[in-house]
């Protein structure tokens, strides 16, 4: 690794650890200070290493620098409090004598506790995802803005408001009690899945960034599986689901950045190593008796890794969607269920069911109807593809629909 690559690389892997430990130590009240100290540490490294070269153990250097900066800050604070605000002395102020604990155990605990602290229903989900990217993944504001197809000011404002809210609500950075862990995990998993979907399904043209979002979501979920209390079946189910999906990451986007439909994917680009990982976590998810929506979605994702276009496959997918929709409705699940119905039962039956969905603002609804009518009623097929074309937003989607119309 060259010196130019070293600092960005370390920033990616270490910033989030340092910032989590600092946040945990200082609390939400001083989260900006924690972020400043973490950033300052990397600034100091950039300055120092560009003269003397990188030290033999750069990570230890960074941790040491962070410890010193934290100590200096706490020292200044306590002086201020001792002289200017003596009435505060009796309060349990964190002592600066205690060194910042950057042991692997405390790093991982702090990151998990931060995850629970950020994923709170008191702040909007986009803010939860944004804060997670900033604090748990070490993303820059400009990267977050790009991921959300937004601008820096909007993101800054959104994160600022979210931090304010967490402060007002006096959210503590700690593990939830065992009795509430399931409910709290639900929120954390929703945020992680949203982060993954942001990367997997977004129209963003930046492939590297999209892949990074997926990988970060998987990394956070993996951390949850590595901790005894959070290693729950639904966590493993979500991780398995993300592995199954990501096994097709390279096959589902072509060189021009256009989405390649499942049927048209080059299966030699499917990643079997990631599929195997998915299967591993899927087996782990089978423990316990709670069936979460992630179990069902992982089951569907597993069947989708099976190439053979058999009746058995589609019957299984259909039943999984039937169950999923009872547990958690979403338009995309309703559309996919109808597609599975066509494959498992008949197109005619699927058309009747599809017409009942009436998702008239959804381009994929019309794309599905177009698909179902193809070969049965040319006029209706064209009409539906045209409706989908009109609703399509991205140039790639428009092209796909135009191709379908031209082929009829």
């Amino acid at each position: 690794m060259t010196r130019q690559q070293l600092i960005p690389h370390l920033f990616r892997t270490e910033y989030r650890k340092i910032v989590a430990v600092l946040c945990k130590r200082f609390g939400f009240d001083q989260i900006e200070i924690a972020e400043d100290i973490a950033s300052d540490t990397f600034l100091a490294a950039t300055q120092s290493w560009s003269y003397g070269g990188a030290p033999p153990n750069p990570v230890a250097w960074l941790y040491n620098a962070a410890k010193n900066k934290a100590k200096n800050y706490l020292q200044r604070e306590s002086t201020f409090e001792a002289k200017v605000a003596p009435q505060l002395v009796g309060n349990p102020v964190t002592g600066y004598e205690n060194e910042l604990d950057l042991s692997p155990q405390n790093i991982s605990d702090s990151q998990l506790q931060m995850m629970f602290a950020i994923c709170q229903p008191v702040i909007p989900v986009e803010a939860q995802v944004g804060l997670s990217l900033r604090i748990l993944c070490g993303f820059g504001i400009d990267e977050i803005a790009e991921a959300f197809l937004s601008n820096k000011e909007t993101i800054n404002k959104r994160l600022f408001r979210a931090k304010e809210k967490l402060r007002q609500e006096k959210i503590k950075i700690e593990f939830p009690g065992l009795s509430e862990i399931d409910a709290r995990l639900d929120t954390v998993l929703t945020t992680i899945y949203l982060l993954f979907s942001e990367g997997y399904y977004s129209v963003n043209q930046n492939q590297t960034l999209r892949k990074d979002l997926c990988l970060e979501a998987m990394r956070l979920c993996t951390m949850l599986t590595e901790h005894e209390n959070t290693n729950q079946p639904q966590v493993n189910a979500l991780l398995s689901l993300m592995y199954f999906h990501s096994s097709r990451f390279d096959a589902r986007i072509n060189r021009n950045g256009e989405l390649v439909l499942y049927d048209e994917q080059d299966t030699s680009l499917w990643n079997y190593e990631l599929m195997a990982k998915g299967a591993y976590y899927f087996h782990k998810a089978a423990a316990g008796d709670r069936l979460s929506k992630y179990h069902l979605e992982a089951g569907i994702a597993w069947w989708n890794t099976q190439k053979a276009d058999t009746k058995e496959k589609w019957e299984n997918i259909l039943q999984l969607y039937n169950s999923l929709l009872q547990l958690a409705y979403s338009p995309v699940a309703a559309l996919n269920r109808t597609y599975a119905l066509a494959k498992a039962n008949s197109r005619e039956e699927a058309i009747i069911e599809a017409e009942k969905l009436k998702l008239v603002n959804n381009q994929f609804y019309f794309a599905l109807l177009g698909e179902l009518y193809t070969g049965i009623d040319r006029e209706k097929a064209v009409g539906n593809f045209k409706a989908a074309l009109e609703l399509a937003k991205s140039p790639a989607d428009k092209q796909t629909m135009q191709r379908k119309i031209d082929a009829l």
């Binding site: 259909l318 039943q319 039937n322 169950s323 929709l325 009872q326 409705y329 309703a334 119905l341 009942k356």
Partner: protein
Amino acid sequence: MDEYALIMRHEDGSKIASPEQMEIWMKATMDWIGGIAAQNKFVSGTGLLFDDAKVVHHNKMVTNGPFGEIKETIGGIIVVKAESADEAAEFAKGCPVLGGEGNSMEVRRIAKKH
């Protein structure tokens, strides 16, 4: 939008279906419920098992099974969201239970909780 209970009534609960018939019937039921859920109109539901069923009579006497002098029995119940009883009845029309002669579906609006 109101909630309606769709109650599956079997004319003769003592009829025993073959495992193959059961499998076909289960799939048809799951597809029916899935179709309602795909319209975001499904609220909850459950099948009611015949095994171990009991009837508690007026004199507090307990007999096995819902059968005997009462022939008609309830096989399951699902709750759906619907704009009207007519819409709920449309959902009920798709229930595979109606394939059995003499069987019926009862549609009842659920009393609102306050």
